[in-house]
């Protein structure tokens, strides 16, 4: 959290601030030292081949060639030690329990508003707020079954939550396939280091989904994954997860509702569906309630949901948690619902809706990051230190016209991890998205998550649509000599 002007120290997760190799990286350093660059280059090419072969590609919309692209994969793993991870995992569990308590309250009595902790208009005017949910109580009171909590780091102990993703967080297939690729490409490394496995994620996910089936359903609920279809950019992930869980991958046209019960069309006739892990947004779920021209959804789904005959996962209307203005209240939210101090820190945030904060932000635009409260994907934001005078002035006008649409944060000195780029090994900025599963029985987090890398030198943008890549994330027992 260093304001512009002072000396920014960028934390290198491998070599620390003092250039001494950090715990967990010894075996990797040793491997990199003894392996000639051309061998590393070959392995990198093999990784690409592996990803193409299994088809973990994403479609680029509007590309006439129908090109399927790969998200760049970096072969140098990112390491967290077991103690670092244990601490982080506790914070993640706490955060997701708090998010669930909050969203349940949002669609019930709104005690947090009555207590004067969160302004009501932040909820009611939120684009993701779904009034229909006031009548719907999801099983176990759990709304957010799958959360992706984006974490950034600026020092040995400096972990911060950058964003909460409580809608339909994606990317988990990369976490799993990156590990598969690494195990194939670097068996010698896996012989030397004990790395916590991640491949039980899909089992955990299925358990989580089954745990939130409507109470009336049989002991063997039918769970399906609802995808927009093969042309969606995340289709690989949808088919991958359905396959690993052994559940049907359905499209809207495979489902229909009769008598408030959801059925899928099968070769044996209709089959009742109990839990829908949907990978389509709220507004496309049910053309009778939301977007009437949507062909992705299922007419009548919301009324079956309201009747308690089906569980939609994540629940409808959880996007309120993704709002960056709501985010700024997370410390209060954790304290209010759980009676605990937050274990994970927020990045300090100025809410531009508050006049004093707005004045400060307008004065310091050249050193702050300003974001739209409901933006995502790294779009619609101003990175002050990297912006031109014109860009700053344009943003200043937008900010003045609609201050409640924005928040501002200091420019983070995101930690770096070495990456194997064309010039050899070089540090690149990273973030981390762990996936937290919350069923009605327990909270489950697999060790690690998806590490995203800003592959352009100096860049802080990790989004795949803007030059970001990924790397495998290892939670390891220490290897200090």
């Amino acid at each position: 959290m260093t304001p512009k002007g002072s000396q920014t120290i960028i934390f290198n997760e491998m070599t620390g601030n003092d250039g001494r190799l950090r715990d967990g990286y010894h075996a990797i350093q040793h491997f990199l030292d003894e392996t000639p660059p051309d061998i590393l280059m070959t392995r990198k090419a093999e990784a690409e081949l592996f990803f193409r072969r299994i088809g973990i590609t994403f479609n680029v919309y509007g590309d006439a060639e129908g090109t399927e692209r790969l998200i760049p994969f970096d072969i140098v793993p990112r390491v967290l030690t077991m103690p670092e991870w244990t601490k982080l995992a506790k914070g993640l569990e706490q955060r997701v329990l708090a998010l669930n308590a909050f969203i349940a309250d949002v669609y019930a009595d709104r005690r947090i508003v009555a207590e004067g902790l969160v302004p009501e208009e932040l909820i009611l005017q939120n684009q993701a707020f779904q009034p229909a949910m006031a009548q719907i109580k999801p099983p176990g009171g759990v709304h957010v079954h799958i959360a992706g909590i984006d974490i950034v780091r600026d020092g040995p102990d400096g972990f911060y939550v950058l964003e909460d993703n409580a809608r339909t967080p994606s990317g988990v297939s990369y976490m799993l396939e990156n590990r598969e690729a690494m195990m194939r490409l670097f068996p010698e490394l896996f012989g030397r280091i004990r790395i916590a496995p991640v491949d039980n994620y899909t089992d955990n996910l299925l358990q989580t989904l089954r745990s939130v089936a409507p109470p009336r359903t049989s002991s063997d609920p039918t769970v399906v994954l609802l995808t927009p279809g093969a042309f969606n950019s995340a289709y690989y992930e949808h088919s991958f997860l359905a396959d690993k869980m052994g559940i049907e991958l359905v499209e809207g046209r495979d489902l229909y509702v009769r008598g408030n019960i959801v059925y899928m069309r099968t070769t044996e006739g209709p089959k009742r569906v109990d839990v829908i892990y949907r990978r389509i947004d709220d507004e496309f779920l049910d053309p009778l309630v939301f977007n009437p021209v949507s062909v992705l959804g299922v007419p009548g789904l919301m009324s079956a949901y309201a009747a308690g005959n089906v569980t939609i996962s994540n629940a409808v209307g959880t996007g309120v948690c993704d709002d960056k203005a709501i985010y700024s209240y997370m410390p209060e939210i954790v304290k209010f619902y759980l009676g605990q101090e937050p274990l994970l820190a927020n990045v300090p945030t100025w809410r531009c809706r508050e006049p004093k904060a707005l004045a400060y932000v307008l004065d310091h635009l050249d050193e702050l990051v300003v974001k739209e409260v409901n933006g995502s994907g790294g779009y619609g934001m101003l990175v002050g230190p990297h912006a031109t005078k014109d860009e700053i002035e344009t943003f200043r006008r937008r900010l003045k016209a609609q201050p409640e649409g924005f928040i501002a944060q200091p420019t983070l000195s995101l930690s770096t991890v070495p990456c194997f780029v064309e010039s050899g090994l070089a540090p690149r900025h990273v973030d981390l998205r762990p996936y937290v599963l919350c069923g009605s029985d327990s909270v489950r987090v697999v060790p690690g998550g998806l590490t995203r890398v800003a592959l352009k030198e100096g860049s802080l943008v990790v989004n795949s649509s803007q030059g970001g890549g990924t790397k495998d994330t290892w939670v390891v027992e220490g290897d200090m000599a």
Partner: protein
């Protein structure tokens, strides 16, 4: 299973099988094309290739003449042809993508690799050497796909629909192949054993990769009625019509057993199988091979429609 999944599996398998058959048809025409003209049949090999591929209408809308270059262009990769080999591969992969979860990893990788392989070929004005390699890539992928499905798929309804697609397509392709050549298979009108027809008959066998196995079964010269017998009525020949229907019966019966319900598809398949089983080749020639095959192709289409109606919609 989802009807849409069954539909995609069924069509995916049909397209893979079709791609293989098309590539064999081209391979054989190419081979016959190298013979001196004295050995050639009355109609050109390339015209009969188009007839076998059942796309005469579209072809002659786009080309005046069935020359080697035209036919190869059309069957391999022409945009005008909705079931060119290239389109078959693309459609197969699209279907595979749509039902990734219904395929084993190994099956997906064969189709996905094939797609990348095929894209590496320069398919316009393809030279003979490249063409040979291209056809081989297709045939090998189809064989591997078939074998992999057999060895890796769970024996659930997924597997049944994969097989049903394969055998309906195969029966159709083989019947057309024999039908196009039926004039050379008619023993009454020709002096048996003439040098001219020998290569035509053996071409049929070669087109289905059965030339060597013919020798093992009959220990005789290639004779037209034996070729027809082999490809229509012999259960030892895995690509014969009766073998396809033996398989179709088994797969459909197994579906009916699991689902607890019989339907039109089971009835049609059983009737067609029975008519093949009770047939003798000399009687078949007397009553008319062409009529028989036309009737068979119609029945086979009816089975396809019944399967769609009963399970895929």
């Amino acid at each position: 299973m989802l009807s849409r999944t069954a539909d995609s599996l069924y069509w995916l398998s049909r397209y893979m099988e079709r791609a293989e058959n098309l590539s064999r048809i081209i391979g054989v025409a190419e081979r016959l094309g190298t013979l001196p003209s004295a050995y050639m049949a009355a109609s050109s090999e390339w015209a009969s290739a188009i007839a076998t591929a059942a796309c005469e209408d579209i072809f002659y809308n786009n080309y005046k003449e069935a020359t080697r270059a035209n036919v190869i262009e059309f069957l391999v990769a022409s945009e005008a042809n909705p079931s060119s080999i290239l389109t078959c591969v693309e459609t197969a992969r699209n279907n595979a993508r749509a039902v990734r979860t219904a395929l084993t990893t190994e099956m997906w990788e064969i189709i996905n690799n094939l797609w990348y392989e095929v894209k590496k070929f320069k398919l316009t004005n393809i030279d003979p050497n490249q063409l040979g390699r291209f056809l081989l890539v297709i045939q090998e992928a189809s064989l591997r796909f078939d074998g992999t499905a057999y060895r890796t798929m769970l024996r659930t309804d997924h597997f049944r629909f994969q097989r049903i697609g394969t055998f309906i397509e195969r029966a159709d392709n083989i019947a057309r192949l024999i039908d196009v050549k039926y004039h050379v298979l008619l023993p009454e009108t020709e002096q048996v054993g003439g040098g001219l027809d020998y290569f035509q008959w053996s071409a049929i066998l070669r087109a289905v990769g059965a030339l060597t196995s013919y020798n093992w079964v009959y220990r005789d010269n290639v004779k037209p009625w034996l070729v027809a017998d082999f490809m229509i009525l012999r259960t030892e020949q895995p690509r014969s019509l009766i073998s396809s229907y033996d398989n179709l019966n088994r797969q459909l019966d197994s579906l009916a057993e699991v689902y607890g319900r019989q339907g039109p598809s089971q009835r049609i398949a059983r009737a067609t199988y029975a008519s093949l089983e009770n047939q003798r080749i000399d009687e078949l020639f007397q009553s008319g091979l062409h009529e028989f095959l036309t009737d068979f192709i119609g029945q086979n289409n009816a089975l396809g429609a019944a399967v769609a109606e009963q399970y895929l919609l």
